[in-house]
Symmetry: C2
Subunit: 309 residues, 2 copies
């Protein structure tokens, strides 16, 4: 597809154009930036929901169940599955293709796995771009699924208006589970696999950890919701709670603060990508070799490069 | 402590100076960069070992056991525990203080938890700086412990010469465990809690996943080592295997390639930090507000800012 054709088709909701646009955004570069710049005024409509939690928490199954519930409520749904460095496929297809099957063929659902192999630090930027493109294509709910609890995931979660943190009963011991580290970004907690032994204890632990923390600055007390994604138990409550959170954000002005935080993160990512792109070249390579040989240091080298910009 | 005094004391192995220097590096800014630039020529001596894996895998206990084993072999050990966004303490003290106790009081061991609250994307840079400082202070082995499997952790792992990926038996189902995503960065696999049911299966799975992947480019086939960190079982083998990997790197020239990759990552992080630091201000804030209001987009705004640099 010719790139200038992409924009009108994308805004018209053409799935092939959307897929092509996301691939372009994943590559980055000037054409990608031009497209995103043109798309940006058409974004900001979707309810962006982030879902994060440790491997094995059943996030993909939960995403699937939530998407089906939103579809039952006549909302169109985009899904961005972020899978860091899957080694063999260069992407996340292995698990997701199986799990997402029940949604396949529904024109009201768009699913995309983000490959992240080798893209140092650029995943957060590419994910935000994918969300913007799906939003611009008219999908009403955009779900971002991320694995794990690292800084990268926290950055990605900041793209979301509503962040759901998924835990499961009895994963590791208590201290480790507190260390998982995504608690402060949670707008909703879901204890998935709640039919397992220890689910009540996990719910109680999360509630008592909330009491230990500072009271929420924006007046939203994140609920702790038990669920069994495989059977659909608790899914309605999660969808409703996410909806209430969106309403709360808009009513309390929290939506503006989140939009500014998201905007700042996107600007930062764009500046960083652009700066690196412009600075790479023979001088960059020479400085890298000097740093590796301990004849120079990253900070003096960075000053030198930025002086030349 | 007066900053100019830091450098000689740090290079002399003064622990208070080292702690102070890491705090300075965590804050970033010009003083931090000046110190790091001065320290850099004295780095590159330590064997830097990264340890990563999902929450609940027993990483802290494993780090503790490995450090004790290295101490038995008369190696001094620095430990950097990276704990993303621990919500209540602003750091990682909660778990680590308990677990690291047996090492406390040994002058041949230096332990540091990196707080990461609110430091968007800067954790990778601050961790690399902490490693450099500990290295310059003369510690022979530096262990970096990271939680999770996200892009941030992958970036951090690139700071290490030898990366150990920890798995445990029966965590989640098979597909999810493949999705954990740190496999391609592993130089050693450790199946911890190997006295649990399913340990053999986890070892077999990891080995068959290795066979599915591309053969290692550098001729190093990552071993899969069972261990029980709490009882010390398998710890000797891990320390020896890590040592063999360091020898392999030096012998095969892989050490140079890793040093260049590390240098490039450090240069990239330094450029990004410096660029953002210089660009922040009233113009930055105005552009953020425009982007949030959809009157501008991150890419055009980034171009505008970089033109003004």
């Amino acid at each position: 597809m010719y790139i200038p054709d992409l924009l009108p088709r994308l805004l018209g909701g053409d799935r092939r154009a959307l897929a092509r646009a996301i691939s372009l955004a994943e590559q980055g570069g000037p054409a990608s930036r031009a497209l995103l710049a043109a798309v940006y005024p058409h974004t900001g409509q979707a309810h962006v929901v982030g879902i994060t939690g440790p491997p094995g928490a059943g996030k993909s199954t939960l995403v699937n169940a939530l998407a089906l519930e939103w579809r039952r409520r006549d909302r169109t749904v985009g899904i961005v599955a972020v899978d860091p460095t899957s080694p063999f496929s260069g992407g996340a297809v292995l698990g997701d293709r199986i799990r997402m099957q029940p949604l396949g063929g529904d024109p009201g659902v768009f699913i995309r796995s983000m490959a992240s192999r080798g893209r140092l630090g650029g995943l957060s930027r590419a994910t935000a771009d994918a969300v913007a493109l799906i939003d611009a294509a008219g999908f009403q709910v955009v779900i971002i699924e991320t694995v794990g609890a690292g800084q990268g995931e926290v950055d990605i979660a900041r793209t979301a208006q509503t962040t759901i943190v998924v835990e499961v009963p009895g994963m590791g011991d208590d201290v480790q589970s507190i260390k998982a580290g995504v608690l402060e970004i949670a707008d909703l907690f879901v204890v998935n696999k709640a039919d397992r032994e220890g689910a009540d204890k996990t719910v109680r632990q999360l509630r008592s950890m909330q009491r230990l923390g500072a009271p929420p600055a924006d007046g939203w007390e994140p609920p702790v919701l038990p669920a069994v994604a495989t059977s659909g138990q608790g899914i309605t409550e999660i969808v409703e709670s996410a909806g209430q959170h969106a309403v709360h954000l808009r009513a309390g002005g929290g939506a503006d603060a989140r939009a500014r935080a998201t905007a700042e993160g996107e600007l930062r990512a764009a500046v960083q990508e652009l700066a690196i792109e412009r600075l790479r070249g023979p001088a960059w390579d020479a400085l890298v070799a000097q740093i590796a040989a301990r004849q120079n240091n990253p900070y003096s080298a960075a000053e030198e490069l930025l002086r030349g910009l």
